[in-house]
């Protein structure tokens, strides 16, 4: 048992740190977030060149063969700079689903393109009524000839705006909340019958609500076995949650550093406000929450590949619950300790607060994961 990084992992960490330092100053990030696209295709190309877009994929398909630990290292460091490129949507979620459930032809058609930086993906799982339940799927896929016809409404699809292909969860059988009967389809974003409402999310990213109206797909669009997608979705979402936990740790540590520096600089009553014990103790509590979250993020990265699915789910639920409550506390208190300055959109701390706020809700908020953990642990 140990928690230390190997030499290769340290190199990866250094390399992501450098990328963030070179490209993600607060000003550069604000500018990028305000563009039409919301991120940089040049950065994306650079990430492909560095091999990052192949990080979790097996070496046979041209990937790096990394584990969840490497993904966590990458996400933690990206989190510290609030990186905007759709790494999670394309590589971890979309790529993860294809690699996990796809047949040889599907993997060959998609994964090398992702690794090269030529194809972006998004995962459309949520629906207006589903809240955080991955099994709550009303979107339907009806057999028609050799293929299927899809109908339904997918909600808040992160990076559905720019994805070339969207992985859609749809029901091929069963009741709307059954775990069985859910299937995955690879849908071209420009297919007939796909209509999107694109928008900005408060964390500077892009998302879309997507309506599917009689969208026709071939049999080759079905990812994995018909009706048996739920365990695959759950597994890949667990990987995404672990990645988000790491991102949140990086964002919390950065927010804490910014706030801590501010406490040393800002003077009131003739002294730096960091000399006031009430603010010192608040800052210590923020630091402790980030530390506890870092431990849980490391833990879940190491436990993600467990064969025992219940143990894996427990680890993921516990980690997201801890990270969620910490993200809320650190984000909100960072604003508080900055006083009026924390309220200005021009200053960086508010952007950390906003990303931490969405990280808390993505893939299930704190209450959801506490409940999930309780159900698994009883």
């Amino acid at each position: 048992m140990d928690f230390e990084l190997s030499d290769e992992q340290n190199m990866l960490k250094d390399s992501v740190e450098r990328f963030v330092k070179d490209n993600y100053s607060a000003e550069a990030r604000a500018k990028l977030a305000d563009t039409e696209l919301g991120f940089s295709r040049d950065h994306w190309k650079k990430m492909a060149e560095l091999g990052w877009l192949g990080l979790p994929f097996p070496e046979e398909v041209g990937g790096f063969g990394g584990t969840a630990v490497e993904t966590a290292i990458m996400m933690e460091n990206m989190g510290s700079g609030l990186v905007l490129e759709p790494f999670l949507s394309t590589v971890i979620l979309g790529g993860g689903l294809v690699a996990e459930a796809g047949n040889e032809a599907q993997i060959e058609a998609i994964i090398p393109q992702v690794i090269e930086g030529n194809m972006m993906l998004a995962f459309a799982y949520a629906e207006p009524q589903s809240r955080f339940d991955l099994n709550d799927v009303e979107t339907s896929a009806t057999k028609s000839g050799d293929g299927y016809v899809l109908n339904g409404h997918k909600a808040v699809v992160y990076h559905g705006t720019t994805a070339d292909k969207i992985i859609v969860s749809a029901r091929t059988s069963g009741g709307s909340r059954d775990e069985s009967g859910i299937s995955l389809f690879v849908v071209d974003n420009n297919s007939d019958g796909v209509s999107r409402r694109d928008y900005r999310t408060i964390d500077g990213q892009r998302a879309a609500d997507i309506k599917l109206e009689n969208v026709k797909v071939g049999a080759d669009a079905l990812l994995g076995e018909e009706g048996a997608a739920f365990p695959v979705i759950e597994k890949v979402v667990d990987q995404a949650i672990a990645a988000l936990c790491a991102e949140a740790v990086g964002a919390m540590q950065a927010a804490n550093n910014i706030t801590n520096e501010y406490l040393k600089e800002r003077k009131q009553f003739g002294t730096p406000i960091g000399k006031f014990q009430v603010l010192q103790h608040r800052m210590v509590d923020m630091y402790m929450e980030a530390e506890q979250s870092k431990s849980m993020s490391d833990m879940v990265a190491m436990k993600l590949d467990l064969d025992d699915a219940t143990e894996r789910r427990k680890a993921v639920a516990a980690a997201k619950a801890q990270v969620g409550q910490a993200a809320k506390f650190v984000g909100q208190q960072s604003i508080q300790l900055h006083g009026g300055m924390g309220m200005t959109d021009e200053y960086s701390i508010g952007h950390y607060f906003k990303r931490l706020t969405t990280l808390e809700m993505l893939f299930g908020n704190t209450d959801y994961h506490f409940k999930k953990y309780a159900a698994l642990a009883s």
Binding site: M1, E4, M299, A318
Partner: protein
């Protein structure tokens, strides 16, 4: 990064389990599981068994009698001890003064005291706090004045745990009042049988006698009993407090408390259904469980950093803060789980000469005692407020 245990680690775990299953006396285990104070006789009996096995001092260097365990093995042992409700050794000798002696003491002191600590021949107590010096420890007033080969000690210590059992006390005393407070303190080892020492009991809110006042009136202590240099005692004291904070998280014990809570919640009823099915109760328990898991991995992460040669500053203060808060939340919830049977608690003394068991179900005997006593956990070892000051200064630079 890797959480798996090696084959050797798993064999070690089996060995610890086997040892605890066969060697831990049932009466000692029962008191520990309930959260009652140990008896001196039971604790010493158990510690001698530990020493015979060679496991009395896992944190000591091998040359002084340590086990040479890796940090993974120490983790495994502490988990197994916690799960089996095997008491850890009383800290005052083996965890507090022992490391001070082998780090700063002379050869004679090491030869004299270390084997007696390992074999529990001396029961040690800690002479730090004074009536006027709690969190502000460096302001202590107990004086030691040089007289030939002796110091003459006058003053008073307070909150001294188990002084009534103690053979020896390690004491911070003022040897120079003319300099900055921290620079005039010395560290003395004092035989409790020395004339002029009086121990007075303090009855604690759990109605038990675990704390004391210790008075010193013209107590003669040989200069040979001083650790290190005169007036350098503060350095040794801080070293000791730093050591104290790492063990204080008590993660394994808290994990056992979670198990106990789940056992009790299966039996106790709420609304005619097992308490274990009560949403509010579960919500509280789950939040503690997750916090405890985070604390466990934080402790492991820090131990891993230390094992790989990294220097920590005041990070272990976090373990003390979070660990004590969790202990209090757990004993609070244990008491809550008992419903009305949380109330009828009496000190053990009250049962002497009576031929009856404590009121209520068997598992109700213990939680209130521990709940009351553990209010001290956020106060002792440097209060949690002082710990936050330390982190603020040492880690955050505020």
């Amino acid at each position: 990064m890797d959480l798996s245990f090696s084959k050797e680690d798993l064999a070690f775990r089996d060995e610890v389990r086997e040892f605890l299953a066969t060697s831990l006396p049932a009466d000692v285990k029962d008191r520990c599981d309930r959260g009652l104070h140990p008896t001196k006789e039971g604790q010493v009996r158990w510690q001698k068994i530990l020493n015979e096995k060679g496991w009395m001092a896992p944190n000591w260097p091998v040359e002084y009698g340590g086990t040479g365990w890796t940090f993974t093995q120490k983790y495994i042992a502490s988990q197994e001890f916690g799960h089996a409700s095997a008491p850890i050794a009383t800290p005052f000798g083996v965890s507090m003064v022992g490391p001070v002696i082998y780090t700063f003491g002379n050869q004679e002191q090491k030869d004299k005291y270390l084997p007696r600590i390992l074999n529990s021949d001396d029961w040690w107590c800690q002479g730090y706090s004074e009536p006027g010096s709690g969190s502000d420890l460096a302001s202590l007033q107990t004086k030691a004045v040089r007289d030939g080969d002796d110091y003459i000690v006058n003053g008073q210590k307070i909150w001294t745990s188990y002084a009534q059992y103690a053979d020896m006390i390690f004491c911070l005393v003022r040897t120079d009042s003319s300099v900055k407070q921290q620079e005039g303190i010395s560290f003395l080892l004092i035989d409790m049988k020395t004339p002029g020492i009086t121990v007075k009991p303090i009855t604690v809110i759990d109605k038990e006698h675990s704390l004391n006042e210790v008075f010193f009136e013209d107590v003669r202590v040989p200069v040979a009993n001083r650790i290190g240099e005169e007036n350098k005692g503060w350095t040794y004291a801080k070293f000791l407090l730093g050591n104290e904070r790492t063990g204080i998280a008590r993660v394994a014990r808290s994990k056992r408390q979670v198990e106990r809570l789940k056992e009790i919640a299966k039996t106790e009823l709420s609304g005619g259904r097992p308490l274990a099915e009560d949403t509010d109760f579960n919500n509280k328990l789950t939040r503690i469980e997750v916090d405890l898991m985070a604390l466990e991995y934080t402790e492991l992460r820090y131990l891993s950093m230390i094992a790989s040669g990294k220097q920590l500053s005041a990070e272990p203060s976090l373990l003390k803060i979070k660990g004590s808060e969790i202990q209090q939340r757990l004993t609070g919830l244990l008491v809550e789980s008992l419903g009305m049977y949380g109330a009828p608690y009496e000190a053990e003394r009250a049962y002497e000469g009576r031929n009856e068991a404590p009121v209520g179900p068997d598992y109700a005997h213990g939680p209130m005692a521990e709940h009351l006593y553990l209010r001290a956990s956020t106060i002792y070892g440097g209060s949690n407020e002082i710990q936050r000051n330390i982190v603020s200064k040492m880690v955050l630079g505020l």
